[in-house]
């Protein structure tokens, strides 16, 4: 129960940060990506602001045996750079450029512009499902 509450609090602060920073506005995000238009550097400040507390958190984590509200750390351990990572990032970037939306702002947007955000979020889920059901078994095999 404690874990659920911690995750909820984290989500609320995350969503508030997205809205406060202007990142819930696809137009502002897209203006960051629009180098040849009226470029808006705000997203860069958001990234810097977000990376600072997390850089500290990673150092604190090294001194912790387990997280405060859970039994153990469960963090991604992959270090391999492969075509899958690169292709996925490029495809995501194309979608991000087209709409100015990535997953966090899309979901946070459900509270701001419900119909548009729901359309984006549901097709995003469809894209995730497409990946899941076209490449599931192969990757499962590779993991072993």
């Amino acid at each position: 129960m404690k874990r659920i509450l911690v995750a909820l609090v984290s989500g609320v602060i995350f969503g508030a940060g997205l809205a406060w920073s202007g990142m819930a506005d696809p137009h502002r995000v897209r203006s960051f990506l629009d180098l040849f238009g009226d470029w808006d550097p705000t997203l860069g400040f958001v990234m810097i602001g977000a990376i600072i507390p997390m850089a500290f958190a990673w150092r604190v984590r090294q001194r912790m045996e387990r997280p405060l509200a859970d039994g153990s750390f469960d963090l991604p351990g992959a270090t391999r750079i492969d075509a899958r990572l690169a292709a996925g990032a490029v495809i995501f970037g194309i979608g991000w450029g087209i709409g100015g939306l990535c997953p966090g702002p899309g979901i946070a947007g459900l509270a701001i512009v419900p119909a548009d955000a729901a359309l984006f979020t549901s097709t995003m889920l469809a894209g995730m499902a497409l990946h899941r059901y076209t490449s599931g078994p192969r990757w499962a095999k590779e993991k072993k």
């Binding site: 874990r3 509450l5 995750a7 909820l8 609090v9 984290s10 609320v12 602060i13 995350f14 508030a16 940060g17 809205a19 406060w20 920073s21 202007g22 990142m23 819930a24 696809p26 502002r28 990506l33 040849f36 470029w39 808006d40 705000t42 860069g44 400040f45 958001v46 977000a50 990376i51 600072i52 958190a57 984590r61 405060l68 509200a69 750390f73 469960d74 992959a78 750079i81 899958r84 690169a86 996925g88 990032a89 495809i91 995501f92 970037g93 979608g95 991000w96 087209i98 939306l101 990535c102 997953p103 966090g104 979901i107 946070a108 548009d116 469809a126 894209g127 497409l130 990946h131 899941r132």
Partner: protein, 146 residues
């Protein structure tokens, strides 16, 4: 900054960014997980074979719109200008959903959590999706698309 880029909101961006970073730190130090939104969404929707417990993922995901809503209450409304065409949202959604799963992360997981961990994988992924985002908008501009 405001003279050079009149529409920029550096202070709001930085402070909002700090909130995002603190939220991710709570996730990491509290429950030992990465606050990667794409992974959480997939987990919450039952579209991921691994990841945090489903309850954790769902709670985090529910928190996102709740936080945005609360911010709107405090500030008197959050600005969000969405693309006018439904097709834009549909195509963007499909590409984002497929891409983030294939590439194992998005702006939060690779961009915030991975870069701050100095993960080479995440740094490369972030460089690639930013580069591809820049290129996409430039090409759309070239093609006369909104």
């Amino acid at each position: 900054m405001t003279v050079l880029f009149p529409q920029a909101q550096p202070l709001a961006g930085f402070t909002g960014g700090l909130m995002i970073g603190v939220a991710a730190a709570i996730m990491l130090l509290g429950v030992g997980r990465i606050a990667g939104v794409s992974g959480m969404v997939a987990r919450a929707a039952g579209l991921a074979g691994s990841g945090p417990g489903r309850g954790i993922a769902m709670a985090f995901i529910v928190g996102l719109p709740l936080g945005a809503f609360l911010t709107g209450l405090v500030t008197g409304g959050v600005e969000a200008h969405y693309p006018a065409s439904a097709w834009t949202l549909i195509i963007a959604g499909l590409l984002v959903g497929y891409g983030v799963r294939l590439g194992s992360g998005c702006t939060s997981g690779h961009g915030v959590c991975g870069i701050s961990r100095l993960s080479r994988r995440s740094m490369l992924a972030t460089a690639l999706f930013m580069g591809s985002g820049f290129a996409t908008v430039a090409l759309m501009r070239l093609g006369g698309l909104p």
